[in-house]
């Protein structure tokens, strides 16, 4: 029978050599999976502009095509026809390499994303680490772009960007330890399967929040979009890129943001799980799309509303708050899992009822950590407020003394 799930058998039966059939189906799968993010980017940019526009009480693109849907296509065509200016003294080969790495390093992640219970590019046994490794290649492209542009601003921007990306990779990977602790597997498809009983969002809310925040910082979205802040560092590391190469940096960034939301949905929101997905596997695609869309919408609204963070606030937030919280979260989760196991309450595969005790215990543990963090924030806020007030008082006292002092001198 010749349907998409049994393509190899179908080809072999029609007389094609088995190895060749394998290669052809692999190629077909690769092209299919690599095209999905490309097509999605077109809608992503449109949605982004529309949401930002509506939040700012204006209309957004609505001329080109119905509701402005073809605006991105028009933009892409425009960029194709713009002149490609290579600056003086730029290192030709690696100058051209950077946009390609920008693109490739994001598309590569899609190879391990489980779309439905039956369809996944490659179900690697170490899927999560693969994602982290590919994401860490992204820093190479920034260094290459910043260096090869032969421009001080590009270099400065590249350094800052790399510092930010490196710093926020720590809470990213730390927060990924928690689903691995709970699920006991690194394979993406397995992690989704294990969430049949209860989503990891309820078992590890702090880890989900950390993952989301760290991803926002890794992809350079607001409030961490210091990397491309026009008012501060002009365009950062891609200041000397024009035409379609610049377009590829931008497209890569949008794709990266979407991929990050996709992975949040896969790891914490239950991936392709939904009512009826075991009978009709294709439904998993729709559920995953809906969940990703939800997370992405949240990120968009965040971008349109929250102000930008300063670079030193950025670093403080990461090293003094996010990293200790993530480490504490891992330890608390590990301890609670052992306790649950000692009590014999570990959930069976995919069963909602048996997952509830562990969920409740872990959720309470997370609440406990969150309360400690909130207490710390309140304390620090109070200290800062008191320090401000005492400075103000000191200034006022100084004024009072200055008023009284001349009178005393004259009186003497």
């Amino acid at each position: 029978m010749c349907d998409i799930n049994h393509l190899v058998e179908c080809l072999v039966q029609s007389g094609v050599n088995r190895d060749l059939a394998n290669l052809l189906t692999t190629l077909g799968g690769v092209v299919l999976i690599a095209t999905v993010p490309l097509v999605t980017v077109i809608f992503l940019i449109w949605i982004e502009r529309k949401v930002a526009a509506r939040v700012q009480d204006r209309l957004g693109p609505n001329r080109v095509g119905p509701f402005g849907l073809l605006q991105t296509v028009a933009d892409a065509l425009k960029m194709l026809t713009k002149e490609d200016i290579t600056p003086n003294g730029a290192d030709k080969f690696i100058y051209n390499l950077a946009p390609i790495i920008a693109f490739a390093s994001v598309v590569l992640i899609w190879a391990v994303v489980p779309f439905t219970p039956l369809h996944i590019g490659a179900d690697l046994s170490i899927g999560i680490l693969y994602f982290v490794a590919v994401a860490s290649i992204g820093t190479v492209k920034i260094m290459v772009a910043g260096w090869s542009s032969n421009n001080k601003y590009a270099l400065l921007g590249a350094f800052r960007t790399i510092a930010q990306l490196l710093s926020y990779e720590v809470p990213l990977v730390l927060s990924l330890l928690v689903p691995v602790l709970i699920g006991g597997t690194l394979s993406m498809q397995e992690i989704v399967r294990q969430q049949g009983g209860m989503w990891y969002l309820f078992m590890a809310p702090i880890a989900a929040v950390m993952f989301f925040i760290a991803n926002l910082a890794e992809t350079g979205r607001a409030p961490f979009d210091l990397l491309e802040a026009e008012s501060e560092i002009i365009a950062g590391y891609n200041i000397e890129y024009s035409g379609f190469k610049w377009g590829m940096f931008m497209a890569g960034e949008f794709m990266h943001a979407f991929t990050a939301c996709l992975l949040t949905a896969v790891i914490f929101l239950g991936g392709w799980w939904g009512p009826g997905v075991e009978q009709i596997p294709a439904l998993g695609f729709i559920y995953l799309g809906l969940k990703t869309g939800l997370v992405y919408l949240f990120a968009l609204v965040l971008r349109a509303t929250v102000p930008r963070v300063r670079i030193d606030q950025l670093m403080t937030l990461n090293w003094k708050w996010l990293v200790p919280i993530s480490v504490g979260n891992v330890l608390v989760t590990a301890l609670l899992i052992q306790i649950v196991k000692a009590l014999g309450l570990t959930p069976q595969d995919g069963d909602l009822i048996s997952a509830i005790p562990q969920t409740v215990v872990l959720f309470l543990g997370n609440v406990f950590v969150a309360l400690i963090v909130l207490q710390q924030i309140r304390n620090q806020g109070r200290e800062a407020r008191l320090a401000d007030e005492s400075t103000a008082l000191a200034v006022v006292h100084g004024h009072d003394e200055m008023e009284h002092a001349p009178t005393a001198a004259v009186g003497d």
Partner: protein, 120 residues
């Protein structure tokens, strides 16, 4: 060899992922005009001409952040097998992991107190 089959997919993906971005660049090369002149190709410097080599004063702080990140990276990577096998470990496994994390958390606190984490 199911393992290698999965990685073969990744290998093919790798090769194609580099080819995909090439096509638009080739398209741009065909479609876009190309009239270079010395002003267009000069380095961008907020309206003035660049003076001297492209070299910025390199702050040591960048290197320190990279170093701390490296140590934490290696630590987390060593923790992944621990987390993977966690469901089959007992309390001793928890304490081993606790000790491991505790040492590195100590180092973070040292860095904190020595102001190595400040963006000066």
């Amino acid at each position: 060899m199911a393992l290698l089959n999965e990685w073969a997919f990744i290998g093919v993906f790798f090769s194609i992922a580099w080819v995909f971005p090439f096509l638009p660049i080739l398209g741009a090369r065909l479609l876009a005009p190309s009239k270079p002149n010395s002003v267009k190709q000069s380095t961008y410097e907020c309206g003035v001409e660049t003076v001297g080599d492209t070299w910025v004063q390199f702050k040591v702080q960048y290197y320190i952040y990279g170093l701390i990140f490296l140590v934490f990276d290696v630590e987390i990577v060593l923790l992944f097998p621990w987390a993977l096998a966690y469901n089959q470990l007992d309390f001793f496994g928890f304490f081993a992991g606790l000790l491991f994390i505790f040492f590195l958390f100590d180092a973070l606190i040292y860095a904190w107190r020595k102001d190595a984490l400040e963006w000066v």
